[in-house]
Symmetry: C2
Subunit: 878 residues, 2 copies
């Protein structure tokens, strides 16, 4: 006979699938000798059987429940529905907690008959009546599905009639009146009297829990989160204990360590003669847990012992609920405690130092979503509460920023120079806005997704950004934004949270968190476990310095185009673009050359002998041309050209789908001189740094947007020719020439591409874009909707699409390494900083991931976690 | 010992790899008893050995050449360089003929000593001198690499000094003077006397042929055409025969059948006392070959016998060169004869009817590039010669068209209504131009590639189109075009050739070719061999009728959006797009519904029970909105909206990369009512046609742009719901719901997609676009350049990229059929009409290909060819 019902003594924390999370933990605590109110769990299999049997509880399950109830009464020496009166709680407990499911019914077992006896045993009729009132209300709404307002109306009218303010002030008489009115509601709504048989109450509650597994909200939630329908929920039936039966009773909540700082000190509150909900409700002020020692030293010590035991047992800081019933200490719940980012780090390091955890376990356990908080500003929580939230965009780059809004890069710069805090607000940003982005505290855009220009650049700068905020109507020419009724003009304050995507109207102070020593310790441990290295995407020497500060092993992506926008270079670039002949183009490029060389020298000097992977020019040329009439006129004047010539050049470069147009290596092939000058600048910069410092820089030259081996072959040959010319003595013997793998076709012919490549770097942004056919610039709204509808589990630009894009990546790696077994392979798309993606990349045996400098620490931890997990799963397989 | 040298008696047509094409054919003719001047071939292996040996002819090869030369002298009873004098020709002959390689040296073996004897044996000193003069010139330029102008100057100055006009009029004395001057040039340029030793002449010529295999032009040609370097070239050494040694000598060229009409009659010309080049030069008028009978009946009969023998032997119409030397008939060359499209068809059918060929061979042999000529107009060749060609664009849709140029759809329509011939000229076309395209004779655009809007729509209409003509500067607002010095205004005549991409200024008459009975016979044979069916892409009832006329088995792609542009529908579509609520949108769609239903009814009625695969709305909505200010104002008035509201709607829909934006099934998911109304129109149309005709229509509903199984699952469920509602009696029980496979990701997850699809239709245009990252609208110029540079072998939008896109298609088919073994799979991209692509698709076991109606005949033949080849290769394998 299959066992469907398990006494707490029969379960363990390993039995989550069968007993649900709550049931497994109650059993576990019970079995390590902690004082848990007795009870039993009805398994998830019983739930599945219930649905198989057309929503009836089978005789087999019933007989086991009956037996468990019998046993429970014996254990606690009480009588269910009799005297001394045993009351129980009935709680759902699935493996994964799900909103919309039935949660809890307390005080089950009470009826008109045993009420007196129960009152006598607790010494308070008012208490007993209040329990009964609550029970009818909970059972009525949850089991009988009577809308809650029916009960609320009654209690409110009784309070009103009797000038009573809080529930606590209701007298016995009031409660009796409420109970009789509640019962009348039950009759009126269901046609039957309120159930008086405790056993029938119990079975009705169990059925209600089972049924809630398949209510609409739960089904929708499962569908969206890809939770299988067949895992089912367990039901926990547990003896009630009461903290509000007198001054020797009480209740409290503690953390085993300080959840804000991580300090090793029990932390929490308690209230005597109170129920759990009283602590939360805030009507009486709870006391600091340390005061419990003077109230009841024995209980206090038991709490300390339990806390210590649980921490050691679960190897993690615990969040514990306890109740004292007439001097007896009970544990009601334990779970891993939520904690701040700072506490996360400190607890992890302390646990290792205290010998409670191995380093790899500490790392595997880390909740990396907290790491961002350590590296970015946060809003003052109190001020934030009072600030109106007006819109929700995409959390494009984490952090919090507040400032006056300006609508163009120039105004932002001017305001910032005056010392103002500024937020740059644009429909969408383009490379022309870079200087404004540098000066702003944060960036807000109405269009574009997680990998739009604004998002990518902001993350690179570690700057807060909310992108794709469709709710906001931005009018750049009138310099104002509209959101609902709010109209904000240039100079008005807003605050944006790049971690949540929320936008607030007004000023909210922000605070920074300093990086602790523990953080450094943890990061260093992490690196010892990782099998992938973490590189940074860094375009400037500032980026490079940040990259080193955050522990990047090198630069995995240095985009040369961003250099083109600074100072006077843009003029020369524009001159190059409008050139009619190869000679003119070369002359313009020669003017850019010294700038590029100096930029590279600075980066090489900063990075020493670490590798610096430089991508040759990638974006379509029109990105370098002005879009507004004023700017066009200015450009014509500067270049000494007719305005019509400039306009014609801009028109000629216009493309309907620029992302799939003339960019990347296609530019390099059509205009050989562009890549040749860049290669010359890189190689000469390296040679000069070598000359000046004695250290051999380690540049790598990367060809973007390759779709066929032929393209790479042609361009590699040209770079090699430049190398031979510029470095005839071959001082940079190790110079590598590699390619981005970002066009789906490149994955399909990766073996042939590998013939001409020293390394592959997956550009997962473009690869995702083309594999899915989702324009990075346009698909923000669509993707949000898809995620909301459950068509997509997650934005594939944030976390790699393992099924689709991942298959292409795998294929490319296999093909590439079939040609060159030692081919170095990394990734430099935005997903390089995402935890799930990193775990996936780790399974593919990549050499490195590269991400924005500010995401490097998280990526280092994620890489370490992935390696530890991979090791563990191998160990298990072996 | 390896055999490097083969007497003609030792070779055969199967030995092309070793002997080259020319050598193998000379041997073949020789062996079937035809009178070929004796000779031998030095094999391609000898060429490779030559390069392996650092460009020296090995002793082994040398000894074999010497022996062959000895044998040749014995065979013909002449003495090489002696008396009677044997002269030879030396010709290259690779497996694949290549421009830039050395071609021919004639009269080799002549020197100062044997000249007299040679003159005596031919009876003409002038003739002998002319031969010697030509030999020195050819040998000097080809073997000694002396620039040709050195020789040209001498001959011209002699003519000038002596008032001689043609070479024929040069006297013996003139020739002697020329020869001595030629020799002086040789000394001056090389430092040595002109070689007098015939054997040394021969070896120098052989080395020159070998070396030319690796000259720059040949190497480049091989690289571009992916011809392996190691196949090498053979060298043919053959006894010279002369048609110009008197009135009993002569020369001629004949086709075994009429190359224009295919009629079974020997066709060609001859000249007595002449050399081959005299026939071509046109100084004397050649005579019709039939007159040879009276000149030399014996020779004439030998020619007829040879022609018949060669036709039967090669199973194809032959193009033959012959020479009569002093009454003796020699064959110098035979090859498959080039012929017109009409002749191609007639010859193929006649050969089968004459029992010379099996049907499948006739089909396998067909040169399909000629088929287009049969279906499209051609220019009058004589007028064309005198018409200036001003530009070259892409041959987007075959045919020839002439007319006055107009720059917008409205003007085109007006002019066409007045009876004018019109060419629509646009920078690029959009769906708004459809009516203009219908009225125009042809379409010329400056932008866009082979699958741009103009190209696709024109091919669908069977209308001539030249797209992506970058040379032309089109100014739509000033209504004029500039090309070089030419300025053309509205109303000026141009002529465009969509088969070649050429653009001419002025009017050129065009002619149509009627389809012959033979053509129908051939097409019917073809269908019996094909394993894939050919469907047509057809959006209207006119298209559907064309599809049937050209033998399509059904409609493989019916695009519903084109229906939206006609009449008043566009207004309702626009109303739908600017709707703010679901209700407004539904109301607007209800107005479109009757139009759509009527359109479908017409198509279903035309197609009977054949399948009609209808794609639900695919393009981004902004394509339906006006772009010009005037049109925007008009739209605002018609819809009774503020102009600013219309502008805002247009702006909101603007996308940076619309091809990867909100289109296809994404629209269907975000606006369920759009697909629901379309499904309703399709199903009700089918039910009404069934009611009216008693025939059950066979509609198939296709969801475009699917990237994940979830998208298809959601939309399929909605279509099924509409079906259940509209057709409760399930009269259309066979209704299939399928999907386009056109997003790379769909290929990668095709097994999951197949769970929800009754069929797959590969949209190879979009699939190519995204796999390559080549925007169809923008990449025309880039792709031309890539093809020119040899980076791409062929435009992947014209002929499927088997290596990249093909791999994805294969994967999708495997995955799809792993889920559903009987899954119907077809293709409906532009490559569905391309011969090489069809052959590739045939190997993938596709059920059908679908292409424009006008490409159906060619596709049917291509499918048949592919099946015949596949069968043959299987047979060989077995």
């Amino acid at each position: 006979m299959k066992q469907y019902v398990f006494d707490f003594s029969q379960g363990s924390k390993q039995m989550k699938d069968l007993l649900g999370g709550k049931g497994a933990n109650l059993a576990e605590m019970s079995n390590i000798g902690l004082p848990v109110p007795a009870g039993f769990t009805i398994s998830t299999e019983a739930c599945n059987q219930y649905f198989l049997d057309q929503k009836t509880i089978s005789a087999e399950v019933k007989s086991q429940v009956d037996a468990a109830l019998e046993e429970l009464q014996k254990q606690v020496g009480k009588n269910f529905g009799g005297s001394p009166c045993l009351l129980v709680s009935v709680r759902s407990g699935s493996v994964i907690s799900m909103p919309g499911m039935m949660d809890t019914i307390l005080n089950l077992g009470l009826n008109d008959q045993n009420l007196e006896g129960f009152a006598a045993s607790t010494g308070s009729m008012r208490f007993a009546l209040d329990c009964y009132r609550r029970f009818i209300q909970m059972y009525g709404s949850v089991v009988l599905q009577i809308p809650m307002f029916n009960f609320d109306e009654i209690i409110e009218s009784v309070k009103h009639e009797n000038n009573v303010v809080t529930d606590q002030d209701l007298s016995e008489e009031h409660l009796r009146s409420i109970i009789s009115q509640y019962k009348a509601v039950v009759v009126q709504q269901t046609g039957s009297e309120f159930e008086q048989d405790p056993v029938k109450q119990l079975y009705a509650a169990i059925e209600a829990v089972f049924s809630s597994w398949n209510n609409d909200r739960a089904i929708t939630y499962r569908r969206i989160n890809a939770i299988p329908d067949e895992i089912g929920t367990a039901v926990n039936v547990q003896m009630m204990v009461f903290g509000n039966t007198g001054d020797d009773s009480g209740t409290g909540v503690v953390f085993t360590r300080n959840p804000s700082t991580g300090e090793k000190n029990i932390f929490g509150e308690f209230l005597m003669n109170a129920q759990g909900e009283d602590v939360v409700a805030g009507i009486r002020t709870p006391k600091d847990i340390s005061e419990l020692e003077t109230v009841n030293k024995e209980v206090y010590n038991e709490l300390l012992r339990s806390a210590d035991l649980l921490e050691r047992h679960y190897n993690d800081m615990q969040d514990i609920e306890f109740t004292i019933e007439q001097g007896k200490f009970y544990l009601l719940q334990t779970r891993n405690g939520k904690r701040s980012a700072a506490a996360t780090v400190k607890v992890a390091v302390d646990f290792v130092n205290e010998g409670l955890l191995e380093k790899e376990e500490a790392i595997e356990r880390l909740d990396l979503s907290l790491i961002d908080q350590l590296l970015h500003a946060e809003f003052d929580k109190e001020v934030l509460k009072k600030t109106p939230e007006i819109a929700l965009g995409l959390p494009a780059s984490p952090g919090a920023a507040t400032g006056k809004i300006y609508f163009d890069a120039e105004s932002v710069e001017e305001a910032a120079q005056k010392g103002e805090d500024v937020i740059l607000v644009r429909v969408e940003t383009s490379p022309e806005d870079i200087k404004g982005m540098i000066s702003a505290n944060g960036i807000l855009t109405a269009r574009g997704g997680m990998t739009s220009h604004a998002a990518v650049v902001a993350r690179g700068m570690g700057k807060c950004c909310v992108s794709g905020c469709q709710d906001i109507d931005i009018n750049e020419s009138e310099k104002q934004i509209k959101v609902g009724e709010h109209v904000l003009k240039e100079g008005d304050y807003i605050s944006i949270d790049g971690t949540t995507g929320k936008v607030y109207v007004g000023k909210v102070p922000t605070s920074n968190v300093d990086l602790s020593e523990d953080f450094t310790t943890l990061m260093n441990w992490a690196d010892t476990f990782s099998s992938m290295e973490v590189f940074a995407n860094a375009d400037t020497v500032t980026d490079a310095e940040n990259a080193l500060k955050f522990g990047a092993k090198g630069i995995g992506l240095c985009r040369t185009e961003h250099m083109f926008f600074e100072d006077d270079r843009i003029t020369e670039i524009r001159r190059m673009i409008v050139s009619q002949t190869k000679e003119e183009r070369e002359a313009a490029l020669e003017n850019v050359y010294p700038y590029q060389k100096e930029d590279f020298k600075k980066i090489f000097t900063a990075m020493g002998s670490r590798s610096v992977n430089i991508r040759l020019l990638d974006p379509p040329l029109h990105e370098f041309l002005p879009r507004e009439q004023k700017e066009i006129a200015k450009m014509a004047t500067v270049l000494n050209l007719e305005e019509s010539v400039v306009k014609k050049a801009i028109e000629d470069l216009e493309e309907i789908n620029p992302m799939m147009g003339l960019r990347g290596c296609r530019l390099g092939i059509l205009h050989p001189e562009v890549y040749e000058v860049q290669a010359k600048a890189i190689i000469n910069a390296a040679l000069e740094v070598l000359e000046q410092t004695g250290v051999v820089p380690n540049p790598e030259i990367m060809i973007p947007l390759v779709g066929s081996a032929q393209e790479l072959a042609v361009l590699r040959a040209r770079v090699v020719a430049v190398k031979q010319q510029v470095d005839p003595e071959n001082k940079l013997a190790g110079l590598k020439i590699g390619t981005m793998i970002e066009i789906p076709r490149a994955c399909l012919v990766a073996d042939k591409v590998a013939e001409h490549a020293d390394y592959f770097s997956f550009g997962t942004n473009d690869l995702t874009q083309m594999t899915y056919g989702f324009s990075r610039d346009d698909s923000g709204k669509l993707i949000s909707q898809y995620v909301q509808d459950g068509i997509l589990k997650v934005d594939p630009f944030s976390s790699i699409d393992q099924e689709g894009v991942g298959t292409l990546i795998k294929m490319a790696i296999e093909k590439g390494r079939s040609q060159k077994p030692d081919l170095k392979i990394g990734i430099c798309g935005e997903q390089g900083g995402d935890q799930n993606s990193i775990e996936f990349f780790n399974t593919l045996d990549l050499d490195y991931v590269s991400c924005s400098p500010f995401r490097v620490p998280k990526a280092r931890l994620a890489a370490a976690k992935a390696a530890v997990r991979a090791f563990k799963s191998t160990a298990v397989t072996l």
